[in-house]
Amino acid sequence: MKYSRSLLTVGFVIMVVVHLYVPISMIYDAEHVLTKGKAYRFRVAPIDPNDPFRGKYIILNFRDNSCSVANTEDWQYGEKAYGVLEEKEGYTVVKSIHKERPELDNYCALNISYTDSGKVYFSYPFDQYYMEESKAPKAEAMYRTRGADTSKPIVAVVHIQNGRAVLADIRIGDSTLREMIR
């Protein structure tokens, strides 16, 4: 397999551009949503697994993870869906779920988990919060020792714009999770 020098140069330049384009576009998209998107507050409960490549993160268990539907048989495990969001008692909940992208700004993507007694249960795609490796277990331990302290609920602040969501922070009362375990 031999290439001419010009083909090699063109190929190499394209490769370098693509290699730089992919991470830069990831940064650009996320920054865009963080600055332009609206902030939503979801109630969560963290647990702590880890990922062999990307290090320690906290998995967020969202409290509001279901929605009533007319017919549960329309929804299958693993299916992609779109949830229209609304504010309820200061927190964000999913008002309705749809198969097609809604013509609104306040929606996000969802993955259907299961259905039960007239409700569809789902997971959010922004359920991983990466932390410094020594801090992720501490965060989980702190959550466990807090027990049923509901006076300061844990909230995931998620910026959303046109369905694209970026998890910005985890807040406990007035402070962030990072500040609390520093």
Binding site: M1, L8, T9, G11, F12, I14, M15, V16, V18, H19, L20, V22, P23, M26, I27, A30, L34, D51, F53, R54, G55, K56, Y57, Y77, G78, A109, P125, F126, Q128, Y129, Y130, M131, E132, E133, K135, A165, V166, L167, R178
Partner: protein, 423 residues
């Protein structure tokens, strides 16, 4: 073999021109031939540094601001790109440079994407990450002609398939694995054709069969029992490829093909399989099942391969036909029979294993090949041991049979060694 060219030249056995040509040939060969140790250590170094960067990145430095973290994530990537540029445009002959810079760039890319995903908690799971990473490193395989990056690529796409193609998390993107797999075929073709990098060929001959087997496994859906035909045909094909592509006498392909075929045969030799078999409904719905087409495709591919194999070997079955080569055809017939007479099918599978064992044992004994003879003995012994699980034989009998098998091994090996000593 050391030849004194001067002596041959003086004795007028070769001309001075020929002597010159021989000297030049070896001189150019010695400069071209890669120093394997240097290549191995450069790859090892690059892989370790690359993995080290990924681990450091995975620490997820909280003290650093978002801007600093994202900027830092590009540093290894840019260093990798410069190293790759040097390897491609300056150090053209150096395999060590190509391999080391290719490996480093591969890991730097993974680290860069991983760090950005961390910083922004970007949605997407491990499989999406593996997919993006694999797509991005494919050009490195071709531009740097790196055998090591090709290996990493095959491992990554196989890992991607394991994440997406199996169990409950099985998703609609399984086809991506095959697209990525075939995207690497032109490189593999040149690697196997040029036969320059024997070590990489050996490593690929282990990774490729594993990756193909996992790939075929992911194709099974409805009518799961049919996937045994797909697997048997694939193993037969891999075994045959090992005999067609003779880079070394037993190679990864032929060893894997043989062992995998026998393993599957043993599994099928149990009563359990045929008793609990989810019998095929031979109606129209069969023709809508993915497993059916996977089995048909693998079977026809293996059949076509062997037609080609024997055609180029002048239809010389005597010298080229091996028992493992026939298994996928025989098994397919037994499988169909098993739908109606499971007991008979199970019996035939046992006979097939026994036949293969005896054939290999006989072949080993007649060619005085100790390894082959023991392989044949082992095949028969495993069959006997397997049958212990099916029957209600008393422990005394089981014990006696084990002892007899053990003595059989001793006696056969002893006789063979004695015979070798005599001759």
């Amino acid at each position: 073999m050391k030849i004194d060219l001067k002596e041959l030249e003086d004795a007028k056995i070769i001309s001075s021109d020929t002597a010159y040509a021989i000297r030049e040939y070896y001189r150019s060969k010695s400069t071209q031939s890669p120093n394997r140790l240097v290549i191995a250590f450069s790859i090892l170094g690059a892989v370790l540094v690359g993995l080290g960067i990924i681990l450091i990145v995975a620490h997820n430095w909280d003290q650093l601001s978002r801007g600093v973290k994202t900027t830092l994530s590009f540093v290894p990537l840019i260093v990798g790109q410069f190293a790759a540029a040097y390897a491609v445009f300056k150090a053209k002959q150096s395999i060590a440079w190509s391999e080391a810079s290719g490996c480093f760039l591969t890991f730097a890319l993974g680290a860069c994407i991983a760090l950005i995903s961390q910083v922004y908690h970007i949605e997407g799971d491990l499989s999406e990450f593996l997919f993006t990473w694999s797509v991005l490193i494919l050009p490195i395989v071709y531009l740097l002609r790196s055998g090591m990056v090709s290996l990493i690529y095959m491992v990554l796409i196989t890992y991607y398939l394991v994440e997406t193609g199996y169990g409950l998390s099985r998703d609609a993107f399984v086809y991506r694995f095959w697209v990525l797999w075939f995207a690497n075929v032109p490189f593999l073709y040149s690697l196997f054709k040029e036969k320059k990098h024997i070590n990489f060929i050996h490593l690929h001959s282990v990774i490729l069969p594993i990756s193909l087997s996992i790939g075929v496994g992911s194709l099974s859906g409805k009518f799961t029992p049919l996937s045994s035909i797909a697997f048997m045909s694939l193993f037969g094909l891999i075994y045959g490829f090992g005999h067609l592509y003779r880079v070394s006498a037993p190679n990864g392909f032929s060893i894997y093909g043989s062992l995998a075929t026998m393993f599957l045969l043993y599994w099928l030799s149990f009563e359990n399989y045929w008793e609990t078999l989810d019998y095929i409904d031979w109606t129209r719905s069969l023709f809508f099942a993915q497993t059916f087409y996977a089995a048909l495709f693998c079977f026809l591919l293996a059949l076509g391969f062997y037609v080609f194999f024997f055609k180029i070997n002048g239809w010389n079955f005597k010298d080229y036909l091996r028992p493992i080569m026939t298994v996928f055809v025989l098994y397919s017939l037994i499988f169909v029979l098993g739908q109606f007479m499971p007991g008979m099918a199970q019996g035939l599978i046992n006979l097939l294993i026994l036949g293969i064992g005896i054939f290999i044992l006989k072949q080993g004994a007649s060619s005085r090949h100790l390894g082959m003879m023991n392989y044949g003995l082992a095949l028969i012994s495993i069959l006997v041991i397997c049958r212990f699980f099916d029957t209600d034989m008393s422990f005394v009998w089981r014990g006696l049979i084990f002892i007899a098998l053990g003595f059989g091994f001793f006696a056969a090996n002893y006789r063979m060694i004695q015979y070798r000593k005599k001759t």
